[in-house]
């Protein structure tokens, strides 16, 4: 990996990893080995989770999401607690924590209590491998992409436990739906990420960022189709609105959350946002160049760039949530299996061929830009062609009803224009 930073002095705020290393080295001189080891992980947790994830979860996730969706829905959103309603998330947390946690008498109490805890744990663990800066990663393991995929599929189990244990029919519906949906969308998700792995040749997230920096291009340009598939699949796995059939409020009251109340519900709610943030951070790392920004990271702290990118990506989740209606369960499954999965395979074939050609040209820098151009055009064409193959016909919208002047008599059924 090429050194990015001008200095590795502890006071260089462009990479807080230097500071933490300095602290740990100082601590190493006075403390026994084991303590420093634990201290390193705790420091990483404090730095990443408590300094970034939790505040952004509270203030961007809870507050910002409500305000932004409020703007989209032409209403105000929270604006009473504290200045501009900024303390609303805190007020919510206080309210939730002192609320009674109802558990139905017929429910499986133990599973019902364990489910939110299991749900929260992966949300914390996911941040272990996401690089905030060059040295700012809690555990820089070489298989971090696989680690992320593995851990991010754990909450599905927790939601299934939540739905099953409540002994409620709506919860059961939610549990069944989320399992079938999450596993349907897992395959295209992994296929899409495989495309990125083929290009970079690494499954380390730091390696991906380094690749983006080395070739001065984001993976999103080389793999636009993969990014789109990733976004759709991750929305499904996170149960966000266009595909939130597991929690479908208008159909199955609240799905797997029907019987949850108080802090148990609060954990589910808060960590939904946590997962969306983690998925955004992951997408930024893999597809959008992580903490680099075409050389800007030399002057602006990389972790700030990362945070900004993450929140911009997170805005996409908010946007779709505020705009789109929900798909039906069968349509959702068909979309995953018949549309996204074949597209993922096509994408993989194209990108692996390109990769081989690129290797023959000894990784010429110009060629990757050419491939990016080809892929952007090709993926658009591919999506359209596959949609046509699946029977989608674009129509003139909006459809207007027929207008008649006279009553009486039957107007025969006719085809829509």
């Amino acid at each position: 990996m090429t050194p990015f930073l001008v200095s590795d002095k502890w006071y260089d705020i462009r990479d807080l990893g230097n500071l933490s290393r300095a602290i740990l080295e100082a601590a190493d001189r006075i403390l026994p080995f084991g303590v420093v080891y634990v201290l390193a992980a705790v420091l990483g947790f404090v730095a990443s989770f408590l300094l970034f994830v939790l505040p952004s979860q509270l203030f961007v996730g809870v507050y910002g999401e409500r305000r932004i969706i409020g703007r989209m829905q032409s209403r105000l959103g929270p604006n009473r607690v504290g200045p501009f309603g900024l303390l609303q998330p805190i007020a919510d947390a206080i309210k939730l924590i002192q609320k009674e946690a109802l558990t139905p008498t017929q429910a499986d109490r133990a599973v019902m209590y364990v489910a939110p805890i299991i749900f929260v744990m992966p949300a914390v663990l996911l941040w272990a491998v996401i690089p905030f800066g060059e040295n700012m990663v809690i555990a820089d393991i070489p298989v971090s992409l696989l680690y992320f995929l593995a851990v991010s599929s754990l909450p599905v189990i927790a939601t299934f436990m939540a739905g099953w244990s409540a002994n409620n029919k709506y919860s059961l519906f939610g549990a069944m739906r989320i399992v079938s949906m999450a596993i349907s969308y897992e395959s295209p998700l992994v296929l899409a990420l495989l495309g990125a792995v083929v290009v970079t040749g690494t499954i380390s997230l730091s390696g991906m960022v380094a690749w983006a920096d080395e070739f001065n291009i984001w993976m999103a340009f080389v793999q636009p189709l993969a990014l789109v598939i990733y976004f759709i699949c991750v929305s499904a796995e996170l149960n966000r609105t266009p595909v939130d059939i597991a929690e479908a409020e208008s159909e199955i009251v609240a799905g797997y959350l029907t019987e949850y109340s108080g802090m148990k519900w609060g954990l589910f709610y808060g960590m939904d946002i946590g997962y969306a943030l983690a998925a955004s951070g992951f997408a930024v790392t893999v597809f959008l160049g992580g903490w680099t920004f075409f050389g800007l990271e030399q002057w602006v702290p990389g972790w700030l760039i990362f945070i900004a990118k993450t929140h911009l990506f997170y805005f996409l989740f908010i946007w779709t949530r505020g705009t789109l209606p929900r798909l039906r369960a069968d349509q959702l499954m068909a979309f995953a299996w018949k549309f996204l999965l074949p597209l993922g395979v096509f994408n993989l074939l194209i990108v692996s061929t390109e990769r081989m050609l690129w290797a023959e040209q000894d990784y010429a820098k110009g060629l990757i830009y050419l491939f990016a151009l080809i892929n952007i055009v090709l993926s658009g064409a591919l999506v359209y062609a596959w949609a046509r193959f699946n029977g989608y016909r674009p129509e003139r919208t909006p459809t207007r009803p027929r207008l008649v002047k006279q009553v009486g008599g039957y107007i025969p059924i006719e085809e829509r224009p």
């Binding site: 008498t105 017929q106 009553v407 008599g409 039957y410």
Partner: protein, 174 residues
């Protein structure tokens, strides 16, 4: 403009299709014989001249000594509205044949008339108390509802002589 058929016009339509189906006529309505009601309405629905396809309104009226069931039937092509009536005598068990086989839209309105007047529609596929609960004492839209034996006591569902409904305890499903 919808032409509202007078009783004799409607009777002429009905007599032409099913002779002997009309009991009597009034200024606004045509009284049909209950035993020939379904047959007559089916004929009126299928006949292109009458074309009474849309059972707009069905309701019961209590006239103390008898009940009337009123059918307002609309034609879309001819644009006329006919009013037919059927009389049901007797307060204990008034019976009128159900027109649900002819007009599917009648089933809910017949349920409602049964619920509120106690008019039994014979041949109805599923006659149940649609608005009130099963076991509600009396038929509320009857004129003598408040003069029922024992009279109505204050409070919902508490009639003299009717025991207060006992809620069974919540059954725990294992």
């Amino acid at each position: 403009m919808t032409r509202e058929l007078t009783g004799s016009e409607a009777a002429a339509l009905a007599e032409a299709l099913v002779p002997g189906s009309v009991a009597r006529t009034s200024e606004t309505a045509c009284y049909l014989k209950p035993e020939m009601l379904v047959e007559t309405l089916r004929a009126l629905r299928d006949d292109p001249a009458a074309n009474l396809v849309h059972l707009t309104n069905l309701c019961g009226v209590d006239y103390w000594d008898h009940f009337e069931v009123v059918y307002h039937i609309q034609s879309f092509e001819k644009n006329h509205l006919a009013c037919f009536k059927v009389e049901a005598w007797g307060r204990e068990k008034p019976e009128v044949p159900s027109v649900t086989p002819v007009y599917h839209g009648a089933w809910m309105q017949e349920c409602e008339a049964y619920d509120l007047f106690g008019i039994r529609f014979t041949g109805h596929p599923n006659l149940y108390r649609i608005l009130l609960w099963e076991g509600y004492p009396g038929w509320p839209l009857r004129k003598d509802f408040l003069a029922m034996p024992g009279g109505l006591q204050p409070g919902l569902g508490e009639f003299a002589g009717v025991a207060r409904r006992q809620e069974p305890p919540v059954k725990v499903v294992e």
